[in-house]
Symmetry: D2
């Protein structure tokens, strides 16, 4: 069983390999009559696009999206939206050196063992290139959410931890995030991060990152207990992103350290509005949105495509060594920001439609 | 849309409220001809059963399982296995005090807002009582896995962090876990934990916990990329458990702090066997099992059912206060150990069957 | 893979064997705040109940439904509704004679070959007893539909062909259907049918039947193209009923004989209402309801549990003979009427909720 | 909720409109290491291709398939297979005349009422052009089935009824089917059919058809009771095809006319093989394949795109008339043969994989 479809009512299916002719996605279940254009989607694509700074992969891809179906006279028709993105920068690389070796920390070994065959060119299907399709689907989800919920709706992501360097979340400003190549929300941390990451790159090494997502304007009541809770689906959505190893909702793993008094978010009504004093829960109680901001974070491991030689085996099971040459991405986590935003957008829209189905 | 079914090929559906006549589950997709009895399932149920120590809820439930279908002459028939557990200790409590108030940190408010109606007795459907059904389904999954994979297969869980108290994971011994009321794998920590938790209980407070799960003997190749990766499904499975706020696979959130060199698990062949030098990946690469132990952990928040008075609102939206009387559970995380074991067992079996379908 | 769940948003899962302790179903996805009681459901159960006339099986079952969850203070809560029906008349029968033989025309052989094990008592899971659960789920669906659509909504089924005997559909009166033991809508045919079926029964034989379902008051726009069209799902729903071999929508198989002129249902607007001149389409165009009555019919084969001796093989693959003694059901199709009504109700409700999700 | 995906383990998702830039499908869950090429798929495409005789639509489409992913060095990799077919002959038509009118018997009205928007060009998504994608998916399914089951496996379809003209099924020869433009299996009927259909065409009218499918070599044991029985899924698969109004399994609707003696297919063992004396069941008992040939048939209604003027309404709800000019297809049922073959192939493969998952 293979599972290249995400979502229950708003569903997208992705296809394509890193070095095949194209990649793409088919979005099914999108509400009709939503104005959507390639330009709208392209904006989000450009955030994820490689080759935009010296801190991310130098692969040159314009990631231009083309809509092949499901939009008529500028509006969605309720039928499947097929989006295609052609692979452009796929010829230059020589994969002979890794064709028969398994890169440690990559899925080379497990894909080969599972399927008995693998497209080794650029990682094939396991490549993070697949995430471009998620961003396209997420862009559509955001447009629908904005149309449905209105202006108060917003989703934003930022890198809050870059390897060993944290930032001061009290300084978080949405407006700062796009002004630096790290998606860092704290202006003061940018300089330090730049130095740090340059050093990591020079050393031929790599580092991990933590990305935090904040969704505001989400109505109370979204979530499908018990096995498709809103946080359950967010956890799945984020963990499905390449190289992600941990997911937190609100206080997350640190909830273990709190007392019951600290952790329970007290509720008050004031000026006719319901307010929570704190948001340890990350906006989700019992798997259902509470009306607070939804806050989730996830950790991306450092890429193991590093210049240092590493021990591994080859296809025949012989011991050997491997090291990556050429393009080298010191922190793959940075580019995970728009991907995380896209995934959480899809989950929230899916739950909005699910809620409508049962409870409207 | 409501979602009380878990799994894709090995699927279970749970039903029932904390204070209704019974709870239960229907397991669909179980392979036929597997010897299964109520006694086998009961063993796992007894691990989760409340009222077994002074550190967990004093609700008295025998949690006796009855199989109503799907097993004939001691063996599974491939048809749905219906399991029922009657609620016994449900009369004593007076819910008048919380009937019209929303407990902060609970799902009272969100359930009410979502559905416009809620069974307030003992939390109704949001109660952790539902997890008894997961344990029953997990017990069946484990029996099938043992029959299929053989003796080398094992799943074990333990509490590795109890509020502010950690244990030394280097001292982990499977045999110690069941010998203390905390599912603590490190003998040396038990005394300290006991003191600590007694203090928490006396203070009328509560604390969180971290549970770690280890599955060994899992064959290489399980996992359904891209959107039902093995780790994606484990993350969903664990995040769906009541009060869970974070999930890690292998090194998890801490992967952000590692360098690429540290994080990539080098591979060696020795004595004819493939070995990994480390297991930062938690046994999963690209969403597919590598043959290493699968390691996952999750954080359970402190229950907000504490003796201290907390601010909240009532059904009419008026400000009020609430405090819990009577039964009080200082660390709900402890009882999450068998639940975590059950959920990861179901995920692994589901993926074993999925893999068979596509790749056998 | 086993599949005991029906539906997408309004879903029910059935479990249980003919001669186990009980059978039951779990309904998930039911909208909240719908008034529902066991009495409401029982009314539909009683229509299907065996032993009500000399023309149906003499098994004595009260088919009393008990709701175990999902209903609180008389209303649905949006959580799973678990319904149980205990098997009462299960002791009397001796199954030794068919334990090791495969009844021709039954699923004995195929279940055994598929699973390597089968519960032979009364057909086990393959028994039509399972359909009691469908009727319970359908009763809930009808209540929700009535609450949502209003009084104009109605679903009715009738037997229009009993073996070789047809009835005159121009004489169809809903009020006649329940007045005779055949669910015959044409008063004039009843006497003849009675004679015919008595003769069939005396001969120790059996006959088939055609059941027609008519749903009125269905709003335009229900249906989920392309692979969950309204007629696609109705076809699946009806074909899943035991012994059904054919399904028609509207004119059905006879559409092959019509000309394009005859078959296209012309549309007119008169007195502010849209009317179709004819209804060959059975109320469905392109898989979407048109607002006309939805008309579907299905054929039930004659039971092969007949008194005549038939050739077959036993479990060891040896040739042998078999004949059924005791209880004998001359036309199982009669009792399929409430089952068909139930299934089409579930499909229509499911599509109503699906439509709400995407298009409301 | 929209549903453009078919299947459970072997799944395909189709997208595209009749007059958009392209149509296509994404096949997920295909077993790995199966040799597949565009040439293999093209063979099946060419059977369905329009413009091949004067009896089918004159639209000129080469229906050339391009594989964009999932195949590496000539073999499937187990990842999604994306297939694209460009629309070529889409410019010539003027749709102004039907832009604002609803063709009776078409889905124009229901699509517009459901979605509030429709792509009117050539029927948009409702066009039978979508079925080209089914044929592509079916071609892949057949290749996998042949690789898995071996040479004895075969699927063939034929037209057995053309409007009022039947053929003699006792004369059925597989080798005749492709030799005439009607997919007629009975050589003797061809001449008569030709005359008949020419007359229908000259009259500007259209007629329906019945297509029969026969699958041989199918192993015993395929089927997923209760709600994904093999016949349930075949019924859904066939009913989902444009213009289909009825589906029969084996004797089908005519089972109503048989006696229990006639209908039960007796079983014999001879020369070490299990044989059934007859095949009224169409190779399926209790939803599970019996090892006999699987036989299913379906009726296609006459197209309502006829030259005769028909009454209808326009978008504003005003009464008007409509008649189709230009291209005219006297019997759309003819081209349904390869589509039916494709759909049943996909169902059988899906069930083969499902069976493997649970019972291997």
């Amino acid at each position: 069983m293979s599972f290249n479809t995400f979502g229950k009512i708003f569903r997208f299916t992705t296809w394509g390999e890193s070095h095949g002719p194209a990649i793409g996605c088919v979005i099914d279940g999108c509400p009709p009559n939503i104005p959507i254009s390639e330009i709208d989607i392209q904006k989000d694509m450009d955030k994820r696009r490689p080759g935009q700074s010296k801190f991310t992969t130098q692969r040159k891809e314009s990631d231009k999206v083309t809509i092949l179906s499901g939009v008529f006279e500028g509006k969605t028709t309720g039928t499947p939206i097929s989006i295609i993105i052609y692979n452009e920068d796929k010829k230059s690389r020589d994969y002979e050196s890794i064709k028969n070796k398994f890169r440690p920390g990559h899925a080379d070994y497990t894909y080969f063992k599972k399927y008995g065959i693998r497209d080794f060119r650029g990682g094939g299907r396991q490549s993070a290139r697949e995430t471009a399709c998620r961003v396209a689907a997420g862009a559509v989800a955001k447009i629908v959410l904005k149309k449905t919920i209105g202006k108060k709706f917003n989703i934003v992501g930022a890198v809050t931890q870059l390897g060993l360097m944290s930032c001061d979340k009290l300084n978080w400003k949405n407006s700062e995030i796009r002004k630096n190549p790290f998606f860092c929300p704290d202006k003061k941390s940018v300089k330090l991060w730049e130095k740090y990451l340059l050093a990591v790159r020079k050393a031929g090494s790599s580092c991990g990152a933590v990305i935090e997502l904040r969704a505001s304007g989400i109505p109370v009541g979204l979530g499908a207990p018990i096995y498709s809770k809103l946080d359950t689906d967010i956890a799945a959505a984020l963990m499905s992103i390449n190289a992600v190893k941990g997911v937190n909702i609100g206080t997350g793993m640190n909830a273990a350290f709190l007392s019951g008094e600290e952790n329970s978010d007290e509720i008050r009504k004031s000026s006719g509005k319901i307010k929570f004093k704190t948001n340890h829960a990350g906006g989700i109680l019992g798997g259902i949105s509470s009306g607070q901001d939804i806050v989730a974070s996830f950790a991306v491991k450092p890429t193991s495509s590093i210049l240092t030689s590493r021990e591994t085996i080859n296809k025949k099971g012989k011991n050997t060594k491997i090291s990556v040459k050429g393009r080298h991405d010191p922190c793959v986590g940075i580019r995970a920001v728009p991907i995380g935003e896209a995934m959480i957008s899809c989950v929230i829209l899916d739950h909005l439609l699910m809620h409508r189905a049962q409870c409207s």
